[in-house]
Amino acid sequence: MTTPAPVPTTPELLEELRRICAEAVEIPIDKITAEADLAADLGVDSLTMDEFLVLVLQHYGMSAKVNSIQTTSYPTIGALADLVQRLNGERNGGGNSGPDD
């Protein structure tokens, strides 16, 4: 097991998720904006979405949460960033999420 990555601040988190997505899903990184709908705008199928979500949760050491999450509720990188921050906040014992914004 590799050590889970710490959850960075929002802008960096978005960058990190875009990078992971570009590599895992093979989409040009400049197309992956925070708002782009991965399925509708970028042609990502639902199984690939599931795999990408698993990858992200693993990256931040949140794999335990995977079964409680509906991929379709997080159609964009922005929504996924919010999810990671919320889970991180819950893990750190507070309701509050990221340090910024």
Binding site: V25, E26, I27, P28, K31, A39, A40, D41, L42, G43, V44, D45, S46, L47, T48
Partner: protein
């Protein structure tokens, strides 16, 4: 708008039906099966050697995990067909043709034919589910490649991927080899060399006979196994002379669309009798590719709408209904089994990947069918559901049924737990299910459901009968049933069928005001990227100076295709060409269809196997082939398989959407968010003509406001020249897109009208074989009719 002028189909009567499904060789046997509910699945026998294709491990390369399917090994052919088989006119190996002919004979028994009747035959089908076609493609390719390597000739050096030159330049045989997977010779003379060598190192004949022996085939000319030729063989001598043949491909909704298209031909006065239905086989490759999507039942048990549903199982099947106008049916005293009163079609459009089921798209086609029939939801007694047993598909369908249910709820039932998924014939099998229920006055129990999926609408607004129910007329309203059929690629169809109430006056067909079909934009995508001016010049002069092949086809930019690179690698060039072509049209005209997105559809023409499908087939048959050869043959085979594997990615969940021909049309609907119907038509070499005709028919009847006619030709994969019957040296790759609309729609939106497209005269039956489209001898095969139309336009304008 099309929505308001939705066509009335009150005049179409079903006057005959025939069916072949696992466990039932006639409608009455099918009824018995529906009422007893015994599942009809078994392991394959004969040539389908499971060991070559199966693995329990879902991740095993190019293998699938399913062991059982539905097979027609127990079919009792119609007596006349049985006699023909005894006389050697057909063999059991002619599977699809035999099944279809059986259904047609059965369905025609009750039908009166008069001298001078014109017929049309519209059948849902694809080459992708023909085991015999697959085996012949494997045979031809392997014989070609192995013998080439044994001879040490150019094709051997070039490997599986010889592009043997381009027109307009001197052909360079062999040296271009790494460039692509397709043999396209530069000129007729070159091709004689390349293909002659090809076809035939001295060993090719020996290898071919040996493989035919292995697969247990007679050496039928391979071109006779393409779907339109199979239909022509099946109907031979049973239909009026001059009967037109159209193979419709909207994947698993094909047969329902075929029935609708036949109805429209009758209403347009194109013919007096329409023979409509579908045929579908079970193949090792299809089962492998479908397994990679995870959509086949791991348990090998098909459950529908159930908590334990874990996928579908495919079946060999065929079904045919015979249609006439009600007036003609009554005059002929034919039995009226039911009336087709309204059809709704839709595409899912943008939103999810091209193969994900979408409740919004499904609801839309159901609502459109209600509107077309002039009924509200409460006037439909129940629905024969598509119900395939895949978790995602069933959930989407239940959501759509719930969304379109009347306040009292929606009764629905499916038969797939019993007979399996009849694939390209599914819509016609469901129509016969509905007609039988009308005739017997009962709704058979739905099988394969014990505990519904959690949170499903079953028990609230959807009611799935666990017991057979009487179906009686309420408030003297004629009984009405809906039939749903949904296809891969988001091709949704819903057909309403009503009992014939003898005293009801027949409604005359709605008068159609003359509103000609017009061409408002076009684009062409050709090798060498010629400019618009150059293309127009080539069209006008008939001299094609651009290269004949794209060579290795580079994927268009991401913005044009919006597909992850991995998906693009597993997507056939025909689909990528279609997406690039649409982007070209948009670059010039913008998204013309934006004001009529909901009623814009795509009618595509393509014939012959997709190159990537052939590469994938070889991967799936590698294990089967490897056991057959020894010595030098075995070494040559190993080298060939190595090349084939290097060229085609392993079978994955991207494979099936990447190789299914109808997805070519669906990709455009998905990329540009179009919600009209998408369909592929295949009538062999006249496919382009058929696509134009079908587009004009859907426009004229108001089902579409814009029809994009997409005609694509790709080169024949190496060694398969015998499959199309065209000389490889004459075949040119290219893709053409026409935007057609009605004149009034063009005026309303200010689109420039290039030309009026008159309907007909309809292509005579012919044989669908190659003819010379112009004096240069160049052929774009399925796209020829579209090229001729554009050529005429530019000759006139010069």
């Amino acid at each position: 708008m099309a929505e308001e002028t939705a066509d009335q189909m009150t005049e179409i009567a079903v006057v005959g039906m025939g069916i072949a499904v696992p466990g039932a060789s006639s409608p009455s046997e099918f009824w018995r099966l529906l009422t007893t509910g015994r599942p009809q699945f078994s392991e394959p026998s004969g040539n389908y050697r499971l060991d070559s294709f199966w693995s329990a491990d879902p991740d095993a390369e190019d293998r699938g995990y399913v062991r059982v399917s539905g097979f027609l090994t127990g079919l009792h052919p119609h007596p006349r067909l049985a006699a023909e088989i005894a006389d050697g006119l057909f063999t059991h190996g002619d599977s699809e043709a035999v099944w279809l002919r059986h259904c047609l004979l059965q369905a025609s028994e009750s039908v009166t034919t008069r001298d001078g009747d014109r017929g049309c035959c519209v059948i849902g089908g694809t080459g992708l589910t023909s085991r015999r076609l697959d085996e012949v493609i494997v045979t031809e390719t392997a014989a070609h490649q192995i013998s080439g390597r044994l001879a040490g000739g150019a094709s051997a050096v070039a490997g599986a991927s010889a592009v043997t030159g381009t027109a307009g330049t001197d052909s360079v045989v062999g040296t271009d080899s790494a460039a692509g997977a397709y043999a396209v010779a530069g000129t007729a003379t070159d091709s004689a060399d390349a293909d002659g060598a090809d076809a035939d190192g001295a060993d090719a004949g020996r290898l071919r006979s040996m493989l035919h022996g292995h697969f247990g085939h007679a050496e039928t000319p391979p071109s006779q196994l393409l779907p339109d030729q199979v239909v022509r063989a099946a109907i031979n001598g049973l239909v009026p002379g001059g009967c037109t043949v159209t193979v419709v491909d909207t994947a698993c909704s094909s047969a329902l669309f075929a029935i609708d298209l036949g109805s429209r031909h009758l209403l347009a006065g194109d013919c007096e009798i329409a023979y409509c239905g579908g045929m579908s086989g079970v193949t090792p490759r299809y089962n492998t590719a479908f397994a990679k999507l995870g959509w086949l039942s791991r348990r090998g048990r098909l459950r529908v709408f159930d908590r334990l549903a874990d996928g579908t199982l495919f079946s060999e099947a065929a079904a045919v209904v015979v249609l006439k106008t009600l007036r003609r049916a009554l005059a002929d005293k034919d039995p009226v089994l039911g009336l087709l009163v309204g059809f709704g079609a839709s595409s899912d459009g943008r939103g999810r990947s091209v193969c994900a089921a979408n409740p919004t798209g499904q609801s839309l086609c159901i609502q459109r069918a209600h509107r077309a029939a002039g009924v509200d939801a409460s006037q439909v007694d129940w629905v024969v559901a598509h119900g395939t047993g895949t978790a995602a598909g069933d959930a989407a369908e239940l959501a759509a049924l719930a969304a379109t249910a009347p306040p009292t709820g929606r009764v629905c039932a499916s038969h797939k737990a019993v007979i399996g998924h009849p694939g390209w014939s599914a819509g016609a099998v469901s129509v016969i299910h509905a007609l039988l229920a009308l005739g017997y006055g009962r709704i058979p129990a739905h099988r394969g459901l014990s505990t519904p999926v959690p949170d499903s609408p079953i028990g609230t607004c959807v009611d799935v009968p666990a017991q057979c129910r009487p179906w009686i007329r309420q408030d003297s309203q004629p009984r009405t049933v809906g039939v749903s059929s949904f296809g891969f690629g988001g091709t949704n169809g819903h057909l309403l069928i009503r009992e014939y109430a003898a005293r009801r006056p027949a409604k005359p067909p709605a008068p159609t005001s003359p509103d000609p079909v017009v061409l408002v934009a076009w684009a062409a995508h050709l090798p060498g990227e010629p400019s618009r001016g150059e293309i127009e010049h080539m069209l006008a002069t008939g001299t094609w100076t651009c290269p004949r092949s794209f060579g290795r086809y580079e994927s268009p930019p991401f913005d044009e295709i919006r597909l992850p690179a991995r998906t693009a690698r597993s997507t056939d060039r025909s689909q990528l060409m279609a997406l690039h072509l649409a982007a070209m049209l948009v670059a010039e005209h913008g998204e013309l269809w934006s004001p009529v997105r909901d009623t814009t559809g795509v009618i595509a023409a393509l014939s012959g196997p997709a190159p990537l499908a052939v590469g994938n087939l070889l991967r799936c048959y590698a294990s089967e082939l490897t056991g057959l050869f020894t010595g030098a043959d075995a070494e040559a085979l190993a080298a060939f398989l190595r090349d084939a594997r290097a060229e085609t990615p392993p079978t994955s969940r991207d494979t099936l959407p990447g190789i299914m021909p109808n997805i070519m049309a669906a990709r455009l609907a998905n990329r540009y968010d179009l919600h009209g119907l998408t369909m592929l038509v295949d009538s062999g070499h006249s496919s382009g003509h058929t696509a134009l005709d079908v587009a004009a028919l859907y426009l004229a009847t108001g089902a579409l406001d814009m029809a994009l006619v997409l005609a694509v030709n790709v080169a024949v994969p190496a060694g398969l020249a015998r499959l199309t019957g065209a000389e490889p040296g004459r075949i040119a790759e290219g893709a053409f897109l026409l935007a057609l609309t009605r004149c009034s729609v063009a005026l309303r939106h200010g689109w420039q009208v290039h030309a009026e497209i008159p309907r007909g005269p309809r292509e005579p039956a012919g044989t669908g074989t190659v003819r010379d489209p112009d004096h240069t001898g160049t052929t774009f095969q399925a796209a020829d009719a579209v090229v001729s139309l554009l050529a005429a336009l530019h000759r006139n304008s010069r």
